[in-house]
């Protein structure tokens, strides 16, 4: 598998999803996974998959003594592997900028020269594909499609790409042509496409012109909460109900609709407060909007939350709202449900395809959203029912099952060849 992020060092949903899937698939007894990421930190959980760092894979032959290799790389891997990989360097890349080990440095993030990094990643993929034995190539999101394609051309093995998001989602319909081309190239030349929702599947078929039989939906799942997170208690100094928006405050997430709904509710009631947690390029605009509406006394901003803070926020909420304008899947409502928080989500998010015990509205239907917020905060039966049934429902959405669906696709590809 080619991925870009791996917990605990994650920046978005991609890392969580590829981790969950890999772990779910590891339940299958005859499944072995090699997971390639640009830059491992050394504290990744390797119990169910072997993690290979692109930054520890040489592309230029350097004569490195054993002591040096082991002292530098021991933290991440068996130093012998360095030499195995070195034996598979397939071209002269000495013109490239490499470090003393002959490896390219990666940031492992989303820097400005991201295109260069994806290209370097695919060069490294050539070495990895020659070093290891495998039956299937699985590439997560466009950053890794070139690497996957390279591995496919080297090994001749079938390639599956996993679409967690498309450029159309990220840009609200105005895609960057370079990124679009990379995505399209990946989709055209792979053997099967997995999408995280029917919504994404439709985008892939319509905007990337893929034949429908080549595209399968495998919905994401969610990992059970760790006992440490389960133990977090509600912290709230106010007696009012707390309604929370949690995520990047960007166009894609529809924060302005949340503010509009809040305005409606605050004008009519006095037992509900609103929190917008997270940060993003629209944050200042939202703060201004809240001030203009004159609801700032009941509308709060927390700024960026990390790690445990996210769960503290969720556990202190009475309602979770995700008014996304376009969301390929959207794992956060599932996390809210795990924390016993009733959720309101937009029909335009992929997770609405599988969730039953949530309230769904159109993202633009502010009236309906306000009404749903009022209802959950006012009628105890509603909140109770959603909490209990939601928890039961979300506990049954398992990565293991998603893994089985992916396995079926693998079996078809391997068997067919």
């Amino acid at each position: 598998m080619f991925g870009w992020e791996f917990p605990p060092h994650i920046l978005g949903g991609l890392g969580t999803a590829s981790y969950g899937l890999t772990r779910g698939m590891a339940q299958q007894p005859d499944m072995e996974t090699i997971f390639v990421i640009p830059k491992p930190w050394g504290d990744e959980d390797q119990s169910f998959a072997k993690i290979i760092g692109a930054n520890a894979t040489p592309i230029v032959w350097r004569d490195i003594p054993w002591e040096m290799a082991s002292s530098r790389l021991e933290k991440f891997m068996d130093p012998r592997e360095y030499y195995w990989r070195r034996d598979n360097i397939y071209a002269d890349f000495s013109y490239m900028h490499t470090n003393d080990l002959g490896c390219i440095e990666f940031s492992g993030r989303y820097p400005n020269n991201i295109l260069e990094e994806t290209n370097n990643y695919s060069i490294v993929a050539g070495v990895i594909a020659r070093t290891y034995q495998f039956d299937i190539i699985h590439a997560h999101d466009w950053l890794t499609y070139p690497a996957g394609l390279h591995a496919k051309s080297v090994s001749g093995k079938p390639m599956v790409i996993h679409v967690h998001a498309t450029e159309f989602d990220r840009s609200r319909g105005k895609p960057n042509p370079i990124v679009y081309n990379i995505e399209k190239d990946g989709m055209d030349n792979c053997d099967h496409i997995i999408c995280v929702s029917n919504l994404t599947r439709r985008t892939v078929i319509e905007n990337y012109h893929q034949p429908y039989w080549k595209v399968t939906t495998v919905h994401n799942a969610v990992d059970p909460l760790s006992p440490e997170i389960e133990a977090i208690e509600r912290i709230s100094g106010v007696h009012e109900k707390v309604v929370t928006f949690l995520g990047r405050i960007t166009m894609q997430k529809g924060p302005e609709f949340f503010v509009d709904a809040a305005t409606q509710v605050i004008r009519k009631t006095d037992h509900i407060r609103f929190v917008m947690a997270g940060s993003g390029d629209m944050m200042d605009q939202m703060i201004r909007l809240v001030a203009e509406r004159g609801i700032a006394h009941k509308f709060h901003f927390t700024g960026f939350l990390r790690g445990k803070q996210v769960y503290e926020m969720l556990k202190s909420s009475d309602v979770y709202v995700m008014p996304s304008v376009s969301e390929p899947f959207g794992i956060s409502p599932l996390e809210a449900m795990q924390c016993n928080v009733p959720s309101i989500i937009s029909y335009q998010s992929g997770c609405s395809e599988i969730l039953e015990n949530v309230i769904k509205t159109d993202y633009w239907d502010v009236d309906a959203m306000a009404d749903a917020i009022y209802s959950i905060c006012t009628y105890p039966a509603m909140a109770e029912h959603l909490k209990q049934e939601g928890k039961i429902e979300v506990d049954n959405i398992k990565w293991e099952d998603a893994g089985l669906k992916v396995r079926k696709i693998y079996d078809n590809l391997v068997g067919g060849k």
Partner: protein
């Protein structure tokens, strides 16, 4: 002699319009007139009107040997009167033939029998009066909403003066026993029960046009031969179904009307007759008692009340509603009383059912999800409750209010009596005055 007893149910709720929480306190009209009119007229055109015509023809054709019964909820009657009065005319004509019986039920097609006995009695009384006024016959057979029945309801029904009732022949209650006999209630042996034959009824209602059913196509001849083949002691075959089966659930192109038209001829050939529920109950002695400790209905595979009371949402909505019962009955505002009835229709709670998740939302529900249904209903109910509370001060509890109202009422009577007295006194005084004046004039 074997007899077939047909009874058709007609009910349509007053569906609620989209009612947001910001309407609470501002907007006191709750109903979606457009949808209600549209749906009712569609059903009337597809089903009620042609079916009425067909039944009238059959009754006339067989000189009164063909009989059926109807139960029409009060809220459905009101909608028919507004949106499709020709259907009411059709029922009147049917009633005049003397071969069509009308049953009584709860006016609002409500679940009052499970929550509010007084409301239940009121609604049944109200409905019986309405039927008598419209069709000129006093109903003698009781039919509770969705055939809901248990031992307590049996006692209540008997105490109201009814000795005949119909309900579901639920398998888990009957066990090995056959529904094709008359039974009596275990809790009140004087109440006779007629039970729905689920198999034959559902063959017509649900399976009639099902291609994958091994008995497809169902012809009148085949159907009658099944009934004929039953043991000779089994005499009453109760086919209870939604009237919409004819033309709406089974569309006319499935041949349902032709099936119904052919049915009496084949029946009479095989010496099978038709009767109304009251005749069936009069002509047969009960063969045993039926004990039903936990409530049954004619809905779903389980034949219980879980479609209306299956989850927290439904329970809390119903409790919030019936909490107001006593107070509403003290009110005199006509619109309030109307809304009270319309809000009780069982359909509102059916829409909140989460039983059908996964198998697609119930096709009857106007809502996108059960949560949506609950939300909308609760908003309406909140407004309704504020209106009820506004009638009398909230601080006075029901008992006190009742006694105060009685006092006021009595005082009103007293004032009237005194006024009358005063009038007579003034009257006699005036007469005396006139006489005296006359006398004076003479002098």
């Amino acid at each position: 002699m074997k007899t077939i007893c047909f009874y058709f149910q007609i009910h349509q709720p007053f569906r609620l319009k989209r009612y947001r929480f910001f309407n609470i306190g501002r907007d006191h009209y709750y109903f979606d007139d457009y949808a209600n009119e549209d749906i009712l007229q569609q059903i009337a055109a597809r089903s009620f009107i042609p079916a009425n015509r067909m039944l009238l023809d059959l009754v006339n054709l067989y000189n009164g040997k063909f009989k059926v019964a109807f139960s029409i909820s009060g809220v459905a009657l009101e909608q028919l009167e507004i949106y499709a009065p020709e259907v009411i005319d059709g029922f009147r004509e049917l009633s005049k033939t003397g071969n069509v019986e009308f049953l009584t039920e709860t006016y609002a097609h409500s679940l009052a029998s499970l929550f509010d006995p007084e409301e239940f009695r009121n609604q049944v009384k109200h409905h019986a009066e309405r039927i008598e006024a419209l069709f000129g016959q006093k109903p003698t057979v009781m039919r509770n909403t969705e055939l809901i029945y248990n031992d307590d309801i049996a006692e209540m029904v008997y105490d109201m003066g009814y000795t005949k009732m119909i309900t579901e022949g639920a398998k888990h209650v009957l066990g090995w026993k056959s529904p094709n006999y008359v039974y009596q209630a275990a809790s009140q042996p004087k109440l006779k029960l007629l039970l729905k034959n689920s198999r034959y009824s559902d063959d017509i209602t649900y399976r009639f046009s099902n291609y994958s059913w091994n008995e497809y196509p169902l012809t009148a001849e085949k159907f009658i031969s099944w009934i004929e083949a039953t043991p000779p002691e089994e005499e009453v075959f109760n086919l209870f179904m939604n009237y919409e089966t004819l033309g709406n659930i089974q569309l006319s192109h499935t041949g349902i009307f032709e099936f119904m038209k052919a049915l009496p001829r084949f029946a009479f050939d095989k010496k099978i007759g038709f009767c109304t529920p009251s005749e069936a109950l009069e002509n047969h002695e009960p063969i045993g008692a039926m004990s039903v400790p936990s409530t049954i209905s004619w809905s779903d595979e389980e034949r219980d009340v879980s479609a209306w009371l299956g989850n927290k949402l439904q329970k809390s909505a119903l409790e919030a509603l019936y909490e107001m019962g006593e107070r509403v009955r003290l009110c005199t505002d006509r619109r309030l009383k109307h809304d009270w009835l319309y809000l009780q229709s069982s359909d509102h709670f059916y829409y909140m059912s989460t039983k059908h998740f996964g198998s697609g939302q119930s096709q009857f529900s106007p809502y996108m999800s059960p949560y949506d249904a609950f939300n909308n209903y609760m908003n309406v109910l909140s407004d309704f409750i504020t209106r009820v509370k506004a009638q009398y001060p909230d601080t006075v509890d029901n008992e006190e209010l009742n006694s105060l109202l009685t006092t006021i009422h009595n005082q009103e009577k007293e004032i009237k009596r005194l006024q009358m007295e005063l009038k007579t006194v003034i009257g006699t005084n005036e007469e005396l005055l006139v006489e005296r004046n006359k006398k004076r004039a003479k002098i």
